[in-house]
Structure formats: structure tokens, C-alpha cells
Symmetry: C2
Subunit: 313 residues, 2 copies
């Protein structure tokens, strides 16, 4: 192995924030040698708990996460945060007040916060977040929190790769309930109705609870539904207990190891699919496609074109 | 060609709503013969204008779209709507009042509305929406509107496949501005601040306008920023004019044909990549992967495993 890589790895494992940040940038930009780095880091990974926190913009995810981090730290565990949310204060995309409120955790040595942005490179964002998490794992984060916004494909990809999913919403979010009905209910392990001081919070909690009674329970875990008022730090400790209880539940039922194996399998399938498509597309193939687009598209449908391509092969 | 398929195609081209709906279901569920159907329909496509309307839940996209449809109909053009938005009234996921308000357009023969839902099959949703659009094109829709929510990968995939993108937002959506800053600004051709009766609407329009001055203009089109109050039908006609003006702009600059060629190219690349990965994964490959996961994962990283796989090949 490359000596330079070994030095980087040693420094990451020691928890050097500057080097961790650089390593994540390396992975994010797919800089030469990043696969080599991940390859070596692999042997330091596999111990962190992964928690996903997702919900609509403005639900208060970052404020909630900020308090959650402090409570985790109070239990003497280290935290890594990966914010895949352009509107998150953790991404620098928020009003100054938010950032000041978060100063404590930003300065804490046991906390590493990283924002991952789309930057026109959306396809790889889910994969890059996972890779960044491996770096944080190697750096010793006991718990890694993924903060995502909304219910798009990237968010679902990320959520499918965590151990516990916290779904946040706010009262009066009529559309949120609709969205939840339409699929997102399936993935939550813990539901949090934040801004519980607003009218309709109890009602919303009851509605979610009712819907959960109708939902098919895949793994036997009955999701929790909690109220919180993140801005005042209320209702967060119980969610942290829920998180640990859910992890214990997974462990007791041999599901944690299964989940992680599946996660790894999906990751490898992704790596392989990427490689085989990359290998397929050479100049000749692209020229052939362009020639079809320029000359034959009127008499031959794209479906037939693709069909013939695979008949020849 | 299969005689049954020919009958289906003839009936779609005649605009039979029941058969159109069935054909979309066929495509959505990837039922046997759907590629054959799309293959034959291809020769009836290529004429519709495609408009994307996207924005956060609750921005009023469906109410806006409802009025837009009526205005398009008043100009004697037919409309197809594909709602890829679980919270849309068009998806049946809304309060009764919304659906009653939309009764006119739902009963109009020149309007076809279809909702596409994730239903746990998220990977293919963008592709399926495109396929559904081809059916609507063959059925003679002059304009096809894609309604999507949020800024996830699927939404961006869909938006990258339309001719004109309308980005909707509402005043006081502080987070929306952040989200917009973080990438979504790049894709909008027309920006609409809906609920313009709310405080801060003018300010928000000016903010967006200011940000657009800073944005790099890829194709030379200066995006429009408009105020609307969709619930009262205010400010919608001017957006429709913007849409047609944008299309004319694309035509005048030879960009429409380029856009469509690129769209088709991406579609074919997607079809091919799907086929090569499908071809790759047989029982033996999966067994080999499982064996690695069960036996070797501790001494060999996934990256090395994949590397070796491609060295052998």
C-alpha cells in the first residue's frame, strides 16, 4: 500500500478533523486514489450506528439534530453528521442565528459535521454520503446521523442505508400527511411531530398513530410517535431512547446484522453496475448511438434499436 | 406486428381515454408487450410540448395547473397531465374541495390526467413518466404537463426531460430560497411566486429576480419571475404566454430540437444501461457476491472485490 494513504488513514483514525474533511472531499470529488482510500478504511468500519433524520424543509430537523447531538455527547458517545439538505444550517445554508445556536456542537471535538451538496452531481450523492459515512466510521464516530430533506430518490436511497429512521413533521402540514400516506409511512421507525406548541400537534400525533395501526409491520417493530419542541429542547431525550431501543430491538432479532449485510450488498451491486456500464460505453458505442439518432430515428424506434443491439451481442 | 397491439394503438391515437389509461398502466407495471407497444407508438410521437411544474408541497401547483389547463383549452389545444406528486389532488391524494374544483377539467375530452405513484418502485418512476408521456403524445396531447413535488432525483430526472420548467414557490418560504440557492435556480425557465396575497410576495419576487441576475445563463434565455394567486386564477395567463415564448425562443435558436435529441439520447442510454446490468446479473454472479459477503468480507474490502472481478473479466 501507498505510504501516503497509510498516513492519511492513521490520521483519520486518530480523529484529525482537518484530514477527515479532506478525505471526504476526496471521496466527494472522486479524486484519484479515493477508492484506494476507501478500500483501506474498510477494515476500520462496521461499528457505527446509523440514524436517518428526514422531513420537509422547515420541520426543524437541524434544531432537533443539534439538541440530539448534545444529548448523545452527554452519554459520552461521539457523533458524525452528514447533512444532505441544502436548506440545513449544517450546510451553511441558513440564517446566522441558527449557526450561532449550533456553535457548541461545531466546536466539540467529539462531533464532526459535514454537508454534502448536490452541485449538479446528483446521481452520486447517495453513494458519496455512504462513502463519507465510512470515513466518519473509521474516524471513530459512534453514531452517524444523516439529515436529509423531503422524499426524493436520493433521500430514500440514503434512508434505506441506515439502521434507524426518524421521520419529522410539523402540525398543520396537511400535505405532509398526504405524502406520508403515499409511501413514506413505510420507512419510519420513529415519528416526531415537531413544533408541538402549534395547534393540531396532538391531533397529528394521533393521526399518525392511527395510520401506523393500519401499516404492515415488516420487521415487527411498532414505530413510536413523539411530540417535540426542538427550539426549546423539549421531547428530544425520549427520541434518543427510542433510537437506542430500536437498535437493541434490531440486535435482539438478528436484524441489525441482516440490515448491514443488505446495505453492503446494495453498495457492491451499485459499484459493479457502475463499472459495467462504464466499461460498456466507449467511443465506438457512443458514435453508433449518435449515428442512429442522426440518421435512423425516423424509421426505427429507440426500443427496436436497443433490442437489435442486444440481439447482435 | 401483433394485431392486438395495432388495435390498441389505433384506439390510443383516436384518443380513447379508457384505452390510454390501460396503456399507461401497462407501461407502469412493465407488463409483457409494453416495449412492443412503445416501439409502435414511437412513430406517433415527437410533436407535444412538455412543461414541468415543480415546487414544494402546498405551493399550490395543482390549483395553478388546473387553471393553466383551462387557459390552454381556451386556446383550443389539448392537454395531458402527469402528476408525479403524491400530495396532488390529481393523484387523488387531496381534500374533496380540490377535486370538485377540478371537475371541469377532469370531464373535458381534451384533457387527460394521470397520476404516477412511487409504490415502492421508485427507481423506474422517472422512466415510466416519460413512457406515459409518449402514450399521451401518440394520443394527440398538444401540451404535456409534468407536475412534481420537491427537488429529489426523480424530479430532476423528469425536469431534465421537459422543454420548459416552471418553478413555483410561495412567500415566507425561507427554506425554499435556500433550496433554490443550492441548485434548483439553475433549472427554472419561469419562476412563479404563488399566493401573492401573502405578505412578502413582492419581496420574494425581487429576491429571485436578483438571484437570476447572478446566475449563469446557459442558453441565453432570461428566466421570467411572476406573481400569481392560483386560487383566484390571477396571474396564470401571463405564465402561459411565458411558456409559449420560451418554446419559441428555443425554436428560434435551434435549441428545441437539440433538447429533444439529448432527451432521446439519455433515454436510450438508460435503456441500454438497464439491459447490460440486467444481462450481467445471473444466478452465478449473485451466488459469487453472496459467498463473498458471507465468507470474505473481513479480509477483503468491497472495493478490492469489485476490482478483482473486473480484472478477471
Amino acid at each position: 500500500m501507498n505510504k501516503e494513504i497509510q498516513t492519511i488513514i492513521d490520521t483519520i483514525v486518530e480523529g484529525n478533523k482537518r484530514v477527515i474533511a479532506k478525505a471526504i472531499t476526496m471521496v466527494e470529488s472522486e479524486k484519484d486514489g479515493y477508492l484506494n482510500l476507501l478500500d483501506q478504511l474498510h477494515f476500520y468500519t462496521g461499528k457505527s450506528l446509523r440514524v436517518g433524520i428526514t422531513g420537509p424543509p422547515g420541520a426543524g430537523k437541524s434544531t432537533f439534530t443539534n439538541h440530539l447531538i448534545k444529548l448523545i455527547r452527554a452519554r459520552r458517545k461521539t457523533v458524525g453528521v452528514i447533512a444532505v439538505d441544502p436548506s440545513s444550517p449544517f450546510s451553511g445554508g441558513a440564517i446566522l442565528g441558527d449557526r450561532i445556536r449550533m456553535k457548541d456542537v461545531l466546536l466539540d471535538d467529539g462531533v464532526f459535521i459535514r454537508s454534502m451538496a448536490a452541485r449538479g452531481n446528483l446521481g452520486g450523492l447517495a453513494r458519496q454520503s455512504m462513502d463519507a459515512a465510512e470515513i466518519l466510521e473509521a474516524a471513530g464516530s459512534d453514531i452517524i446521523i444523516f439529515e436529509t430533506v423531503g422524499v426524493g430518490q436520493i433521500e430514500l436511497d440514503i434512508m434505506s442505508a441506515v439502521d434507524t429512521i426518524v421521520l419529522m413533521t410539523v402540525p398543520d402540514a396537511g400535505d405532509v400527511i398526504q405524502t406520508m400516506k403515499a409511501g413514506i409511512m413505510e420507512i419510519g421507525d420513529i415519528f416526531v411531530v415537531n413544533k408541538s406548541d402549534l395547534a393540531g400537534a396532538d391531533r397529528m400525533r394521533d393521526d399518525i398513530d392511527y395510520m401506523l395501526n393500519l401499516r404492515s409491520k415488516k420487521d415487527g417493530w411498532r414505530p413510536k410517535v413523539r411530540l417535540s419542541e426542538a427550539i426549546r429542547g423539549i421531547g428530544i431525550e425520549v427520541v434518543l431512547d427510542d433510537i437506542f431501543n430500536h437498535i437493541s430491538f434490531l440486535e435482539d432479532n438478528n436484524l441489525l446484522i441482516e440490515k448491514r449485510k443488505q446495505r453492503l450488498k446494495n453498495k457492491i451491486i451499485g459499484l459493479i453496475n457502475y463499472r459495467i456500464t462504464e466499461k460498456y460505453w466507449d467511443e465506438e458505442k457512443e458514435r453508433y448511438l449518435n449515428s442512429y439518432l442522426n440518421n435512423e430515428i425516423k424509421n426505427k424506434s429507440p426500443y427496436k434499436f436497443v433490442d437489435e443491439l442486444f440481439k447482435d451481442a
